[in-house]
């Protein structure tokens, strides 16, 4: 058994992922977390539950997502062959729906009538509002005021779907503060309410639950690449906010030593500036949002305000399994700046005719750097975590273009 597997099993037992993970959450929520843990572990391998999940993924969310050969980028960059795992083609336009369907099914089995969630870019909020509509559940979304301003389109989309959106005005008014508010709401009302955690973060068992439901990304990509190329990829690249699309993209390759796993963090104005969200590169071990992991914080353990152009990557922490993967050297984490990601936003649009989410463009920017250094017989699978319609207005603004919203 590899060391990592042993660590993972400890997580499963509900204890600690070695140095990272755990349950650091108010007592008020502990009984509820026990219920979620129990429901997840009894249902996840239950044939009826799996069939229900599969049916929704295929017939509602449009899975499997394409593994698309990016011919033009490959040619232009002149190195490794580039495949894009097209999570942007899922219903609601991002990977978030995979996890939301899974957790909403858990909620349904727990008899919950109401879903709450935090959201950064709004994609997780939209996915949660969507499934709440489908399941006939109430839905309330917590979103930092900064983010309701820069992602107006998604706010309206959530409202259209019947959700109530609460702009959060505490702290730096971004994703971190939205999670605080959602946790507070859950502590106040958990009887009929399920907190759909949007990334691979939070107290155990959320990081494991989110990984489980996002693993469909790498299960599919592995089989799809095998069918197309009859081989494993040499490298898997995904952007990392809290780390849900990345852990899902990595999951099925973690035990394949020949596959390099690269997580791309938002460096904001630069990894070595104060305006960054590069948690793994710049953070230190701490305890926050229910987990022990890496955080951008000061020497007194106060959580730092973080910055990225991308609302979905603008988070001071990272999921505990990424912290563990980084520590053990099983995955590598790099930073991409605002400027680089905006350039990639334009690049992939012009090369491949794909308007990708600014979050995903952080991963694309890294592919642009690394592909030319690789051999032509090597293969990169890069996850396109979402589509970029939501970002068009703010990128135009960033570029100084005046468009009528």
């Amino acid at each position: 058994m590899t060391k990592l597997k042993a660590e993972a099993q400890k997580t499963r037992a509900g204890i600690y992922a070695g140095t990272y993970g755990g349950q650091y959450i108010p007592e008020t929520l502990m009984t509820e977390l026990e219920k979620v843990d129990h429901a997840f572990h009894t249902l996840k391998d239950d044939p009826a539950f799996k069939a229900e999940l599969h049916d929704l993924l295929v017939n509602y969310a449009n899975r499997p997502s394409l593994l698309y050969y990016a011919k033009n980028m490959t040619k232009d960059l002149g190195g490794a062959k580039i495949y894009l795992k097209r999570e942007d083609l899922n219903h609601t336009g991002a990977h978030k729906i995979n996890n939301v369907i899974g957790q909403a099914l858990l909620a349904k089995h727990l008899g919950k009538k109401r879903l709450i969630a935090e959201t950064g870019a709004g994609q997780h909020g939209v996915a949660t509002a969507t499934i709440a509509a489908l399941f006939g559940m109430e839905c309330e979304i917590f979103m930092g005021k900064e983010d309701t301003d820069r992602q107006k389109l998604n706010v309206y989309r959530m409202e259209l779907l019947g959700a109530k959106v609460h702009p959060v005005t505490t702290g730096s008014m971004v994703l971190k503060d939205a999670i605080n508010a959602a946790l507070q709401e859950w502590a106040t009302r958990s009887e009929d309410t399920f907190y759909v955690m949007g990334s691979a973060v939070g107290p155990y068992p959320f990081p494991e639950i989110v990984k489980h439901f996002q693993s469909v990304i790498s299960k599919e990509s592995k089989a799809q690449l095998k069918a197309k190329e009859n081989t494993l990829p040499d490298m898997v690249v995904a952007c990392v906010g809290g780390g849900s699309n990345a852990i899902g993209s990595f999951a099925d390759y973690i035990d394949d030593p020949s596959v390099r796993l690269v997580g791309v963090e938002a460096a904001g104005k630069g990894v070595n500036t104060d305006q960054t969200a590069a948690t793994i590169e710049r953070g230190s071990v701490g305890i926050f949002h229910g987990m022990k992991s890496l955080f951008l914080q000061n020497e007194d353990g106060q959580i730092n305000p973080v910055y990225s152009i991308s609302a979905g990557l603008d988070y001071p922490g990272v999921g505990p399994e990424h912290a563990a993967l980084a520590k053990e050297g099983h995955a590598q984490y790099v930073g991409i700046t605002d400027d680089e990601s905006v350039q990639a936003f334009e690049y992939i649009a012009k090369q491949e005719g794909i308007v990708a989410a600014i979050e995903s463009c952080h991963a694309i920017a890294y592919v642009e750097k690394i592909a030319p250094t690789m051999r032509k017989d090597q293969i990169i699978v890069c996850t396109l975590s979402g589509r970029g319609d939501k970002d068009v207005a703010s990128i135009a603004k960033y570029k100084g273009v005046d468009i009528d919203e």
Partner: protein, 263 residues
């Protein structure tokens, strides 16, 4: 273990709360002394945290005022040291685990011992997560004060059996802040806890008037008042010591009028 439990003998305890360095160092020192003079049995001092997820707007704002004053973890110890020159009122800290973790569990508990801090209330450290700090706390003779809430259910037994100092009984679901309605099953909750332990109980979260304090002290062994006092500090600023001493006296009188103290 500290001797916090003994404080609850023969009378009901009153435990007020202030945030350290709100609005400044000197006022906090005077506030602690004023609370002691007004009749507090234990003073709970909050070490500010950037993201206090168990706290409502009143305490969040106090934390922000303290950060504006430049509060560091070390500042809080210095405030306690300064207050210690004039009062030996028992003091416990309320803070979030990351603050303690970053200071270092051993160093933090030793520093508490040095300043005469008897216990720690850490809302984001449930029973399952206390093992990592327990050796350091035990070594320094500091109690880890557990919280028990209306949702604790089957967890009450293990939490109560492991408790020392006192047990913080959370009066209602959600976050701190003044309230007029409380969980209706508080009597049963306290009775349930008493099945498993002799460690005293104090009810807190939302209690803000002397009358409510009297009622809660009638149910449990003591009562904790946080946001109401922090609110006075917010309004009175540098004049807070006088105002909170007056308030504390009125709560003291009310609490003393409630019956059924442990012996």
């Amino acid at each position: 273990m500290s001797n916090l439990s003994d404080i609850f003998k023969n009378h009901k305890a009153f435990i007020p709360f202030v945030v350290a360095d709100d609005p400044d160092f000197d006022t906090t020192v005077k506030n602690i002394i004023a609370l002691a003079k007004g009749g507090a049995d234990i003073v709970e001092v909050g070490i500010p945290f950037s993201d206090p997820i168990a706290d409502g707007p009143v305490i969040q704002s106090a934390d922000l005022r303290a950060f504006a004053a430049g509060v560091r973890t070390e500042t809080v110890f210095e405030i306690v040291d300064a207050a210690r020159k004039q009062t030996d009122v028992p003091i416990v800290f309320l803070t979030y685990l990351n603050v303690v973790f970053k200071y270092g569990y051993d160093a933090f508990c030793q520093r508490c011992q040095q300043s005469g801090v008897a216990g720690l209330v850490i809302p984001d450290m449930p029973y399952e997560s206390r093992d990592e700090i327990l050796p350091a706390a035990t070594q320094a003779g500091i109690d880890i004060i557990p919280l028990i809430t209306p949702t604790s259910g089957h967890r009450i037994e293990k939490i109560a059996r492991a408790a020392s100092g006192f047990i913080y009984v959370v009066s209602s679901l959600g976050i701190t802040g003044e309230r007029n309605e409380f969980f209706t099953g508080l009597k049963d909750l306290v009775a349930n806890i008493r099945q498993y332990t002799d460690v005293p109980t104090a009810i807190g979260f939302g209690v803000h008037t002397p009358d409510q304090a009297k009622t809660m002290a009638g149910i449990a062994d003591g009562v904790i008042i946080g946001s109401a006092i922090v609110d006075i500090v917010a309004k009175e600023k540098q004049n807070a010591p006088q105002a909170i001493e007056t308030f504390t006296k009125s709560v003291r009188t009310a609490v003393d009028a409630s019956q059924g103290a442990r012996v």
